[in-house]
Every structure is written in structure tokens, then in C-alpha cells.
């Protein structure tokens, strides 16, 4: 009985979490902060999570291909996805850092030019 109750709470949390991810992905896409690719990745992931939360045995046929224990497969899959996402965030962070430096440099170089021309006018 206790296990069933815990399972149903897990399902509820899964649906709420997935719903929130879907909502924010859609909102970020509409605002232009998310590319279409990002929306499909996160939107698709949240839909799969909703399906798996409502019907926990839905993907058993896929997991059965790898191992008999669905939980093991889910954990391994989750870890791999986490690594992938951390890598993606790292790459974007590096790119953003580079962009910020370039922007700061352009402003610095332009600012010096402006000072020169203002001195000449005097």
C-alpha cells in the first residue's frame, strides 16, 4: 500500500515537472530566447516524461531491449543525458564568455577612437 502511494506521488511529481519544463520551453521559444531546436529537445523530453509518468510501463518495450530492469536503464540513460546537458551548458558558457570579451574589446577600441576625434575638434 505504502509503495503504491509513493509511486503515485512520483507520477504526480513527474507530470508537474514535465509540465513546467514544457511551459517554460514554449515561453522561452516565443520570447526568442530558445532556438527551435532547443524547443523540440526540451518540449519532446517533457512530453515523453509526461507519458512515462502517466503510464509508467509505456516504454518497457524499449528498455527490455537493453536490460530486464527498467530502473537500471532509466538511471543509466539519465546519467548519460545529464552528462550531455552539462557538456552543452559548458560549451555555451565558453562561447558566451568569448562573445562578452569580444564585445568589451570592441567597445574599448571604439571608445579610444571617440576620444581622439573629440581631442582633434578642440
Amino acid at each position: 500500500m505504502g509503495a503504491e502511494l509513493a509511486f503515485s506521488w512520483l507520477q504526480f511529481i513527474g507530470v508537474v515537472l514535465a509540465g513546467a519544463i514544457f511551459y517554460y520551453s514554449k515561453m522561452l521559444y516565443k520570447k526568442g530566447n530558445f532556438k527551435r531546436k532547443d524547443f523540440w529537445i526540451w518540449g519532446g523530453f517533457s512530453i515523453l516524461l509526461i507519458v512515462a509518468s502517466i503510464i509508467p510501463t509505456f516504454f518497457n518495450f524499449i528498455f527490455a531491449l537493453f536490460t530486464r530492469r527498467t530502473l537500471d536503464t532509466l538511471l543509466i540513460f539519465g546519467l548519460l543525458v545529464s552528462f550531455g546537458l552539462i557538456f552543452q551548458v559548458y560549451v555555451r558558457l565558453q562561447q558566451t564568455n568569448k562573445d562578452v570579451t569580444e564585445l568589451v574589446r570592441k567597445v574599448a577600441l571604439k571608445f579610444e577612437e571617440y576620444k581622439k576625434s573629440s581631442r582633434k575638434r578642440k
Binding site: 564568455n97 568569448k98 562578452v100 570579451t101 568589451v104 574589446r105 567597445v107 574599448a108 577600441l109 571608445f111 579610444e112 577612437e113 576620444k115
Partner: protein, 239 residues
């Protein structure tokens, strides 16, 4: 052998250096009057910018702090684009270097014996004695690794006093924002086949400057940055 005529431009990265920027500029101007001095105010929160401007430097301000590497790259770009200098000198703003040492620094370039010269604190025993022990050990380790990865025989890979020909300054690509830049410059210079020489310099350590510079954390960053560059994770030879 025909000597080049020296047309110098100085690049001085500065972050919160209001205490030392004025004597640094006076020292440079006293030894090289008329040479353009580019001070890169790297997001300072003190009066570095105002003081550098007052003492005749071309001030380029990073609106936020981006680190030594980013400041050097901005300064070298400015020196190449905004001056007709044929030798570009990088110089620290914390009074560690003296303008007098620049004369011997540029000598190998003027005699066409080098494309880049690094001021080394490790060539003379008396200069080495002035360096704090922690810096000495860190510097020796990083220099060994830099030499191993770049195939050079430098004695001081982390020195801030350097001179480049205009051609070398134009060709090197600085991607590192932080302290990794010193090793990256050597990597770039050797990768492009430029001749690198070293001359002895005296470094003066104040209690303030002794605490600045590379530490263990930045040492690890330097090492990782070098490895990334070595295995081609960072772009090379593209400007």
C-alpha cells in the same frame, strides 16, 4: 649588420592600479619619450582610468573585468591598429618592471636576431633571489610544462615584460582571457616559427605585486589551456 630603427608602442594592462599606474607611466615616458602608451583599464573600480588619462596614456576601458589575457589582446590590437610602431612592448602596471630593462629587451629585435623577446627573471641569480618562493616554484613548473608542450627552451614563461615585432604581434592569436595568456603567447610564437630570445631583467616585488599573478588555480587553468591548444581544441592560426 643593419639595425632597425626603434618605433615603440607600450601595452600596459591595469586592473585597480591607482597606486602604481602613475610612477609606471612616468618611468616609461622618462625612458621612451614620445612612444605611445596604451593602458587597458580592465574594469577597474578605482581611479586607474582617470590617472592614466591624466598622464598621457591612450586609455582603453573594458567596461567589465575580463582578465589579463583579454586586456593584453585588446592592447596589442590597439597598438597594431592605432600606432605605426614596429616593436610592441608589454609592460606590467604594478612597478615590477623598469623602463631601463626595455632597452636591453628590444636589442635582439633591433639587431634582427629575434622576432620576440621575453624578459626573464631566471637568467641572473641575483634577480631570482628577489622572487617569492611560491612564485618561483609555480613559475618553474609552468615553464617546464610550457617548454615540453611548445618545444621551446624558455626560462621564464610567465614574465609580463615582452617585446614583439609588429609582424609577430599581428600574427599571434590570443584566446585566453586570464593568466593562461603568458604560456599561450609562447605557444603561438613558436607555432608560427618566430625566433624567441630571452634577456635578463630585474623584477621588483612590492607586498602588493607579490600577491598578484599566477597561483595554483590559475596554474591549473594554464595547464588545461595549453593542453587544449596542443590537441587542437582551440583554434590556431586564424585571425
Amino acid at each position: 649588420m643593419k639595425q632597425k630603427l626603434a618605433k615603440l608602442a607600450f601595452v600596459i594592462p591595469a586592473y585597480n592600479e591607482e597606486e602604481t599606474i602613475v610612477p609606471t607611466l612616468i618611468d616609461v615616458k622618462k625612458n621612451f619619450a614620445g612612444a605611445p602608451v596604451f593602458v587597458i583599464n580592465d574594469g577597474s573600480e578605482d581611479k586607474t582610468r582617470e590617472l592614466a588619462k591624466k598622464y598621457g596614456a591612450h586609455v582603453l576601458t573594458h567596461v567589465i573585468n575580463r582578465g589579463l589575457g583579454a586586456a593584453l589582446a585588446t592592447g596589442i590590437t590597439a597598438a597594431v591598429e592605432k600606432s605605426d610602431a614596429n616593436i610592441i612592448v608589454t609592460f606590467d602596471a604594478d612597478l615590477q618592471h623598469t623602463g631601463k630593462d626595455v632597452r636591453s629587451l628590444i636589442e635582439p629585435i633591433l639587431k634582427n636576431k629575434a622576432d620576440a623577446v621575453i624578459g626573464s627573471r631566471f637568467l641572473r641569480k641575483e634577480d631570482l633571489e628577489l622572487m617569492p618562493h611560491t612564485k618561483k616554484i609555480g613559475n618553474l613548473v609552468l615553464t617546464k610544462i610550457t617548454n615540453f608542450l611548445t618545444g621551446t627552451e624558455i626560462t621564464d614563461s610567465q614574465s609580463g615584460l615582452r617585446a614583439f615585432t609588429r609582424e609577430a604581434a599581428e600574427k599571434i592569436l590570443i584566446e585566453s582571457d586570464r593568466y593562461e595568456v603568458s604560456s599561450e603567447i609562447i605557444h603561438e610564437l613558436s607555432g608560427h616559427g618566430f625566433r624567441i630570445k630571452e634577456v635578463p631583467i630585474k623584477a621588483i616585488y612590492s607586498p602588493r605585486s607579490a600577491t598578484k599573478g599566477t597561483n595554483i588555480k590559475s596554474g591549473i587553468h594554464i595547464l588545461l589551456g595549453m593542453l587544449a591548444k596542443k590537441i587542437g581544441l582551440k583554434a590556431r592560426y586564424v585571425k
